[in-house]
Amino acid sequence: MGLDLRFPIGIMFSLVGLILLVYGLMTSGDIELYRRSLGININQIWGGFLLIFGSLMLGFALKGAKSKPEDPKKQ
């Protein structure tokens, strides 16, 4: 199929990761909020990880698109 799935996976997780990361940074020091996660700012850490994961996926997708320029048109 024409759509490289790594694009939507990459975009979605980069976006979600970024949101979690920014939210985590904004709420760092909020003891009440992070009581549940045992005092760990899990949003910041996991958001960062998701952002890296998403970017990697995007990176691979872009690399794949470059190395195979213009799929030969289907008949």
């Binding site: 759509l3 979690l20 909020l33 549940r36 045992l38 899990i42």
Partner: protein, 642 residues
């Protein structure tokens, strides 16, 4: 709702929204590639193996699996992993190495169509009808659970949740067909792994690591009654070792299963029957771009399957340990009291109206096992408490565990706003892709195996494509009907599972003989399958699980044998059905004439099909080599957790 509801922040809704937009976007983008019915129903056989592999495992990792395995993890501990290391990996390797060549290599477009080519129209008809009905119910069950969850958790209306989520699924399946379903399944795979990993990490950290967990579970084994897990006490390793408790016999492990039922019933009959013949999963492999990708599909899927217990079973074990130590007042979620407002009223009634309301009255009215001391406390303080406080205290007095709520209780316990949105989106994703997966399997079987075969032969490809779209809408509507049915009538679920248990249990015998014994005839297969189904029904009618009343749970004809658990009864039922179908098919085949010539059977039966030469591939990538490595890995895991 009492203490079930949770507060979501805007950020949580944003994450959910991004997911929904992503799946809709995928459907939208794929729309322009849907030119022929092959594109719509079979993804044009063009998908790379890593995608079909992850979709293959994801189609199985529905939300019900997620919820159910965590429940079993709490109830039975590490032995639940038998559903993975015994009940999945060997069958997946077998499918890849031996069976995929027939599915992918023959001209069959679906599993029922393979049966038609190999045997005859009758076998196909039987299989396709039962499969079609089953997928509709499976998708209905999935959506019912989702709508209930949204209702309980977020306070959304049941109907609205059901229709909106179904509409989202409808849009993307309609646009992108099977490819949409497969792509969103892969998305769901990553959502689940990345959404639940932090929850498991936090749970493990909270409990103090693996050694601490096993130590606590050792105490749980000896006194499971403390948290209403089991009325019996077991050896200390009952929750923490996979095989030792089984060797002690069915009375000495919390599953109540003996070793034969586990290895033959689950590990062979049920597992091979599901993984090797269920079109829902096989369809993913059949969408692969070539034979080698199709064969690698189940093998790629087996890798995450092997390590999934960490993600799905471990949370249940953590929950049991947390509840046992009552850490931070955590308890296994109690079964929700259905008629709570009425009970609260009963407690609050002035003495003049209701002079001597007793603990027993309340317990009876609730209809669940409850702590008498706690009810007594509520009754004596009733005057000073508000309605809400009474409701909370009554709910807390229930001692019956709602194991299906375990995974959510951990999400609620450990996820702050933000991560909460991610974890809930993972659940939402798996429920929706559960529906999408079933609907895509249903529309293919309907269009190719029922509509094209019996209703409208020899129509144009556009016509079947049109039919596919129409039946997708119909399929979703019927799933919604099934969801309401299951929601309104709780027994519906039991009956459905029972009937499909009867039909599915013998199925693998038919495939095994069909693929590996060229003498098996159409009549033999058809009657064998019917006989196998009847064997299961008869077995069920004559056996029961101790503690159950004869009726829907079995034993309504006579009680010849009693089993310590429903799981054991189920595994034995499958074993008998398989043997019944196998013997009947062999005997009838030998007494009837083979209607198919060797030529017709080429590509469908092992002995008549040229062996595939894997020599073109790097040796490590050959299915047999990969399969062997996976099986060795599986043995190692079983030894580690012996």
């Amino acid at each position: 709702m009492i203490n079930a509801q949770i507060q979501l922040g805007i950020i949580d809704y944003v994450i959910m929204g991004i997911y929904v937009l992503s799946v809709l976007g995928i459907g939208w983008t794929l729309k322009r590639y849907m030119k022929t019915s092959t594109d719509f129903f079979m993804s044009g056989r063009s998908i790379p193996a890593w995608i079909t592999g992850l979709a293959f495992i994801s189609a199985n990792l529905g939300a019900l699996e997620l919820v159910g395995m965590a429940a079993s993890g709490a109830k039975y501990g590490i032995a639940t992993s038998h559903f993975y290391w015994v009940g999945a990996i060997p069958a997946m390797v077998f499918l890849a190495v031996f069976m995929m060549p027939f599915y992918y290599g023959s001209k069959a477009r679906s599993v029922p169509e393979y049966l038609k080519l190999r045997f005859d129209e009758r076998v196909r008809c039987l299989n396709s009808i039962s499969f079609a009905v089953m997928t509709l119910f499976a998708s209905g069950v999935s959506m019912n659970a989702l709508a209930k969850l949204l209702n309980q958790l977020l306070g959304w209306r049941y109907d609205a949740s059901l229709w909106i989520c179904s509409a989202v699924v409808l849009v993307y399946v309609l646009k992108g067909g099977l490819t949409s379903a497969i792509y969103t399944e892969v998305l769901q795979f990553f959502m689940i792994v990345l959404g639940f990993a932090p929850v498991v990490y936090l749970g493990m950290k909270d409990i103090g690591g693996w050694d601490k967990l096993t130590a606590i579970l050792g105490n749980v084994s000896q006194n499971p009654e403390k948290i209403s897990l089991n009325t019996k006490a077991f050896e200390p390793e009952a929750w923490t070792s996979a095989w030792q408790p089984l060797f002690g016999g069915s009375a000495n492990n919390p599953m109540g299963v003996d070793i034969f039922a586990m290895v033959f019933g689950l590990g062979f009959v049920l597992s091979f029957g599901y993984w090797c013949t269920n079109f829902l999963v096989v369809q993913r492999a059949m969408a692969a771009k070539n034979m080698s990708a199709a064969r690698r599909t189940p093998l790629i899927a087996a890798i995450p399957k092997m390590i999934f217990p960490v993600l799905v079973i471990l949370p249940g074990m953590i929950a049991a340990a947390l509840a046992f130590t009552a850490k931070d007042n955590y308890r296994l979620p109690p079964v929700i009291i259905k008629n709570l407002p009425a009970i609260v009223k009963m407690v609050k009634a002035p003495a003049s109206e209701n002079p001597a309301i007793s603990v027993e009255d309340i317990r009876k009215a609730v209809g669940l096992k409850m702590s008498e001391a706690k009810i007594f406390a509520v009754l004596s303080e009733a005057k000073t408490l508000t309605d809400d406080e009474i409701a909370v205290k009554l709910q807390d007095a229930v001692t019956e565990n709602d194991y299906d709520g375990v995974i959510l209780s951990l999400v609620k316990k450990y996820c702050p706003t933000g991560l909460l949105g991610l974890a809930l989106t993972a659940l939402l994703a798996s429920f929706m892709s559960g529906m999408a997966g079933n609907v895509t399997a249903f529309n293919t079987v309907w269009t190719y195996d029922l509509y094209q075969a019996y209703i409208a032969k020899n129509k144009s490809d556009e016509h079947y494509m049109w039919m596919g779209r129409v039946i997708t809408v119909v399929g979703i509507l019927l799933s919604i009907v099934c969801a309401y049915l299951v929601n309104q009538w709780a027994n519906a679920m039991d009956i459905i599972q029972l009937v499909f248990g009867f039909v599915n249990a013998p199925l693998f015998a038919t495939f095994l003989l069909g693929m590996f014994w060229k003498r098996a005839t159409g009549t033999g297969a058809f009657l064998g399958l019917l006989g196998g189904t009847m064997t299961s029904a008869l077995f069920h009618a004559c056996t029961i699980t101790s503690g159950n009343v004869p009726g829907i749970k079995g034993g309504y004809l006579a009680v010849v044998q009693s089993f310590p658990s429903e799981m054991a009864q189920n595994f034995w039922l499958a074993s008998f059905a398989f043997i019944g179908c196998f013997v009947l098919t062999v005997v009838i085949s030998l007494t009837t004439k083979q209607a198919k010539t060797d030529e017709e059977l080429t590509g469908l039966v092992y002995s008549l099909t040229p062996k595939i030469k894997d020599s073109g591939e790097v040796w490590i990538m050959r299915p047999a080599v990969l399969g062997t490595i996976l099986l060795i890995g599986c043995v190692i895991l079983n030894v580690i957790f012996f």
